[in-house]
Symmetry: C3
Subunit: 675 residues, 3 copies
């Protein structure tokens, strides 16, 4: 389903005197907003005591919305269990790995507490029954930011559910022991009762195969928790009312979450985090532009999507996070960054800055004082532009290059520091290089990918798939055989699905068709020279990890060799034609320069070069509609204005004026044009 | 009450063989000491088993003191519960927020354990009855360093007492929920049983309004604990025997503590902490001179006061704190630093270095070997100077400038990182600027201030009173109307007493009479230029936080404007005449240069410039007696000698010689002169 | 007993399909290996359920070994309790100081759990009975890496055993209270039930005398745990079968451990840790050469010894430790580093890289793929050289200089930050200076030293013996009186055996015969100038701690004076002739330059200067046989080749060729020659 189109804001009627409600709604409409989200933290209002429901609490507010044409996104309130519940039923609480329960302040519950699940079923049933057919409501949000703050769970319910999960998956203790490699260090289970999530480990050490299953289990727990709410909701909703949830967080397989019945995903976009006081800066920092990478992840889940929380002001909590007020232009810039990447819903967080709680510094569009300010002006102005982009709805971001991903490898990279180090390096290089060379780039998650999905791309890179399954290998080989180009980096395929290292040459399952074997390998340490590889005479960095390759035979071309230490002369980059396509193997992590070289070699760099010449400091993106309409976005993240050259005439999407030749993009400015 | 005048030392008869006692006392007297403090950690001696008292244990030692004319400060021994007590009654122990009890090594008890309170009542009653009328005893110290080491308490007794505290304060759950903003994130209490001190929060997050009440409660707990002991003691003491306690620590309202019945406060002054190995140094470090700021705090509690523990040697514990031996001259320098700021009692810590325990490196005047050393010589020499200063008793530090403070804002700044960041910046700037410009500066705590207190000062600065009450606003306005000058900095008045942010323009309650509104504001982040403000052509730094101001009307003068980014040209500093006085509002944190500029603008900089011209590296202070006598102190914290110029003839307080013109102050030296 | 001579490898039959066993054994033999270690983590195989034994599990593998002439080191499997055991008997688990139990992954048990000890007795009895007379087995390893990962124990069993240990040691509470200085801060015990290992302390503070006893207790626990296994084993083993254990870890007195019945010690040598990614590097880093210092410790325990785990490849865990692959030559270099320092057994870790578990990155000689690689080639080549060194067996490392050590001071330095700071500084200086000046250096542990042991050395240095006993003082004085030279550094003798500071002048028990008293002292802080001392006109650094000395009389020569601050002119270095020898006292920590100066002054620097002139970057060592045979080792830790000059003809130990004059040592190369 295409994402709902709307321009909205988060609102908390419970935070304000009722006398303010109508004025607020009227002003939202005047500002150009058409949607409002409510109720995600309202459980203690809706059920002030066990079984004592006040679900009609939002009736009056919804009536006002209906009267003024403001559409409503209603939420299930399960992200914040009421205090009475945790006091009377402490078993609902999540615990840390050592067993300490969390008192608050939110998301402090366990997805696997049977008690909590019963409470959730009941409140979701109550609100769905009461509001499921309310005419003002266009969609629902499940819970709020699943796995935010904490994505690990160690309540008694979690230990029991984990046992059940493993029993379902492996059937017998023998298979479980085999998969988890428990022979190592005498960790063999001899009875199912012994199976639990890992406890406190010496220096935090945990069997990595167990930890990988833990992460899959944590993800499954969130998915099943969501599915349970979706099922109750669907029973009560009209067909055209959609369901979503918001935010992207760790230990969660979003392919599986979508499959639990969501219509589209929404992201919470706060690029201002890039400017937090005390955040360590690197000379080469991409700052708020880095949020474009999160948006690429979002649209990998649903091609068009929503922003359930779009930065509306400075943010921060009383106990951590200190951020500046966005500069003039940034709210619009970040809104259009979301749009450029595929957002059809933009909902600001929040209408008015909270007068209380941990989030008094998480500024809304309105200040505490509720008086006019420049942020409101900027959003009002953007709202008019938003109208001009109405037929953008459903248009998808255009990219011929994609980074291949999968949750097993993401989970593994988050627990295995060797895997994590190579993954972070190359992810960063691909992000920087595609951004600066104006090469739009998608993510493709293998969990939901098909041959058709892959065939949309001229180039795929799967940087370091340590875990490689036969299915993945076959799917990718098929992509290459039918004409695709695929790049692997070092550390491909040395692990199986359990994160074990089977007895076979690297790069494992892909070695035959990639046409290489790894002869020697090493992490790059401080005693190494800065390793480079020689690519037709150009020396390009080969950071973090190096593999000396052995081409299988002369169908494997050698494209580059290492230049230093005992690796000097060793093969570092190969290419092999496979069917109609080609597979590259880089025996290293990717550097930004190396990625640019590969994009050029593969002929996929800067696909919009015939339309616009922009400086590397600006982002270039295109959304394309089903009818062939295309919109060009050029985003300037710097405070300084800069010039772009339009190579042919385009039409300014907001003014309708033709544009050609040199055009100035103001500091924090965005050019949007129809192609 | 003026502070007791004495030159003393801490002594632990229980650490030494009885055969040493008399020799020690004789040598104390020979050194020039007249006072000794005993018994603050002696509970296990006085009550070796539950209910088995040996309170006469100190009789023999006190007899020796009496014989040799050494006056005694006796302590209640409640800072260190005996091991038998914590073993048999573990409920007396303080716990951390996760519930883990503290085994030791001291101050590991809860102020709110009913069991502990009963044990304390009994031992205090026993010692008071036994020693209350002892002729050698001149005063009593309650416990030792309340809230040192830890100032948070989470025993069962604390949870229960906190509930009682809130019930007393708010009366109903409705008012409690309102004050704590529990609607936020569904934390509404529906029964008093649910009310507790916060438990383990996700990433340490706690409702800030609850946390503010926790801090007030922790303070009240210490105060009530003290009051209970004072009441028992008073029942047994002669009228001229005073009661005090020692040290300044977090989460404690010293106005309230004084009101519990103390006669004056004593501070424990260890300026040598400035030289700890591994302490991070800044280029602009004030080192031991920074302790003058603590002394200003101390005299805000009682104008003349005592130093119950004055640095007597190198300090350190076996597990942390590594400090050098004070250099020749520093012990005297730091003693006179205490005197210059108002100390009438100087008691060194400790007579002889401990042969055992965590504090074997907390050196006393005597080394382990009990042989002569240069520290003893230095103190003997100082003791002679001390005699020459006898009529200084009761003279108060002279200052026409004061920093306004209050504990609510201090507590809030310690839990709210936004508040804390601005508070630290400006506190530091005011300290440096007043020190270097030789502008003596007091603290005024609003909790005990009256119109009369304030009227003593030409200039008050209340740098960042985030929490502003109507009472405070009225008191300050009265000060200004009657001729005072008052300076506010950014972030004034945006919170109420609960730390919530009410719906009103900033700077809240003072906006009308300060004549400004805040139009825009931001934390200064790394993407900002170094912000300066233009003050009649001079560019002065405006660090950390900026507010663009809107003058209410033309009765508000604009004194400076911002110079960079989108704030360029915005109003940054205003002045408004109110009645006979004036109020300034700075829309920024204070920089040292800005403070100097303000001191000059207000005509209060360097009030002793007609007496002495000293380099910025020296501190200048004056104490003034009730009879008009005045003593000048010039303190040199550097190892290098330096010259000062006495602009008129003064009399050296130690030699009686007249001094005028250029005089050299040796490295670590101090000049004391009668004016 | 001389150490067993062998070239071996660790092998885990339980990690591989049985079909691989014979091929692996055959290839080990082909590689030149003669020994294999097995079974140290196999408990869950040997006893899959409580009391259900499968001890014959290794029979088939041992039969293969026997058939191919591969000798076996068998291990007791007690380092990894099976999961069933910890699940059914959680009391076996070690806990942290706050009481949280450790779930895993190994070494998570308590040495003092009565339950665990019964389980251990039973399994050791079972394996000893079954394998004790197996012809393939040449020796046994007890447990694995005692005190690795964690060396503190707080289970209920440990608390009880600690009480028993103190009761045995002190007999009465009075003596216990006296020794632990419990009068300090009222920590007096009034009943034995109150005596426990310290619990959670405020800011981690613990009575240091208690903590010192804790460390002695932790050591004794490991020793008694070992003794118990040794006794069971001895009952079943033939006389020529030896027993050892492996690794050097904290809180363990290896003199006492040897006395529990070990025949020799083995070390686990992983010099590649020096190259871990993220390890902080200093400009003056000795990198892998630093492991020679560990080997000096090892041979202090047994003059010839084994390496039970010799680096066989890159190492790392999934959750921490990221290391490069050793460069070509380094495996051989590190093997010969072990040999040069006295190793007669070199056993690589491990045969093949683990396919599972936390150690998938702890590479064996074989890669996962089990295909040929350069590490196997390098070991094969080294195996041939190893054969050429056959008659080296039992030859001992030659050194005329030794650093005196004792476990009481090591334990104390690990808990007392003042002690630790001086100890680390001087240890480092002695290591660097002896290495760079080619002055072979031993350790001598006083716990096992006699007058004869000491008499082997021309120079002893006891850098900072804070704790000095009468026995140690007498032994050392005897060494000096009979002609030895001894150097003390600052902080000698100010503590007694309990870590208390008795009332006597420093340097305590040695002051009389060392002929000095300490007049003043200080940690060197940032406010000090860089302190140097003037040694006949040369200025040498005197870092970290300074003591101004007073010579007792003119039999004490003054050799150097301080040059800066108020210490300028103060005596810093003295020498006193005592009997036939001399004692030096340095009132400072040692700098590398100072050590070189002292080595030269004492005429013990570079004793092999007449044999070889090597650059400071290479290590020079000699092993000498009982028959007068001597082997010279020159080790080059750098990647660059370097030249040495042989001052007389020697014979290359591998080629049999004569060598004289300039010879090149390749990068990572080693020259071994018979003298």
């Amino acid at each position: 389903m295409d994402a709902y189109r709307g321009l909205g804001v988060a609102y908390y009627p419970e935070h304000w005197d009722r006398s303010l409600w109508e004025d607020d709604v009227v002003r939202m409409r005047e500002l150009g907003l058409d949607t409002v989200r409510v109720a995600e933290f309202a459980w203690s209002l809706l059920e002030p005591r066990d079984g004592e429901f006040r679900v009609g609490w939002f009736d009056d507010f919804l009536a006002i919305c209906e009267r003024h044409g403001l559409r409503v996104i209603f939420c299930t309130p399960t992200a914040t269990p009421p205090v009475w519940m945790q006091h009377d039923h402490p078993g609902i609480l999540n615990r840390d790995r050592e067993g300490h329960p969390f008192d608050g302040p939110r998301r402090n519950y366990s997805y696997n507490s049977e008690e909590y699940l019963r409470f959730c079923d009941r409140i979701v049933e109550e609100v769905a029954r009461h509001y499921g057919s309310h005419p003002a409501i266009v969609g629902w949000q499940i819970d709020n930011e699943l796995n935010c703050e904490i994505a690990e769970f160690f309540s008694d319910g979690d230990h029991a559910a984990f046992r059940g999960y493993l029993r379902d998956k492996f059937g017998t203790l023998e298979r479980l022991n085999e998969a988890l490699g428990t022979t190592f260090w005498s960790r063999t289970y001899s009875h199912w009762d012994q199976v639990r999530l890992a406890g406190k480990g010496l220096h935090g050490s945990i069997n990595p195969h167990l930890e990988l299953e833990e992460k899959r289990f944590f993800s499954r727990s969130a998915v099943e928790f969501t599915r349970r709410q979706v099922e109750i909701l669907r029973h009560h909703l009209a067909d055209d009312v959609w369901i979503t949830t918001n935010g992207l967080f760790p230990n969660l397989d979003y392919d599986a979450l979508m499959a639990a019945g969501l219509d589209f995903i929404t992201f919470d976009s706060y690029p201002n985090f890039a400017f937090d006081v005390g955040r360590s800066a690197t000379p080469d920092d991409m700052l708020d532009r880095a949020w474009s990478w999160n948006l690429a992840w979002t649209r990998a889940i649903s091609a068009t999507f929503g922003i359930m929380e779009q930065q509306g002001g400075a943010h921060g909590w009383t106990n951590r996070m200190e951020a500046p007020m966005p500069k003039p232009g940034q709210l619009r810039l970040w809104s259009l960054q979301s749009v450029a990447h595929g957002a059809d819903l933009i909902s600001y967080f929040r209408w008015r800055t909270s007068p209380m709680g941990l989030e008094i510094y998480w500024h809304g569009l309105n200040d505490y004082a509720n008086t006019p300010n420049r942020r409101l002006d900027e959003v009002a102005s953007f709202a008019r532009e938003w109208e001009a982009l109405a037929d953008l709805r459903g248009a998808v971001s255009e990219a011929k290059v994609a980074v291949v991903k999968d949750y097993d490898n993401e989970f593994d990279a988050s627990l295995d520091v060797w895997h994590g180090r190579v993954a972070r390096q190359s992810e960063d290089a691909w992000f920087r290089a595609t951004q600066r060379s104006h090469t739009p780039c998608d993510f493709v998650y293998l969990g939901s990918a098909t041959a058709e999905t892959l065939a949309r791309y001229d180039l795929l890179v799967y940087p370091h798939p340590a875990i490689m399954t036969a299915e993945a290998s076959d799917l990718l080989r098929g992509y290459v055989e039918t004409g695709g180009t695929l790049i692997f980096g070092a550390r491909t395929g040395y692990k199986d699905e359990s994160g074990r290292c089977p007895m076979r040459p690297m790069p494992g399952l892909v070695d035959e068709w990639a046409g290489v074997r790894v002869a020697d390998y090493t992490l790059v340490d401080r005693a190494h020279a800065d390793m480079t590889l020689d690519c037709d005479g150009d020396l390009l960095p080969a950071p973090v990890f190096n593999e000396v390759l052995e081409p299988a035979d002369d169908t494997t071309e050698v494209l580059a060799r290492f230049t230093a230490d005992h690796y000097a002369g060793g093969v570092a980059l190969t290419r092999r034609r496979v069917g109609e396509g080609a597979v590259y193997y880089l025996g290293a992590c990717f550097s930004e320069d190396m990625v640019v070289r590969l994009l050029e070699t593969c002929g996929v760099a800067s696909p919009l070069g015939d339309v616009v010449a922009a400086p590397p400091s600006m982002e270039v993106a295109v959304r394309a509609g089903a009818e062939g309409d295309r919109w060009l976005f050029v985003l300037n993240y710097l405070p300084q204005a800069g010039a772009v050259v339009l190579q042919r005439e385009v039409v300014d999407a907001f003014t309708g004026e033709p544009l050609e030749g040199s055009v100035e993009v103001p500091g924090y400015g965005v050019l949007v044009a129809r192609l």
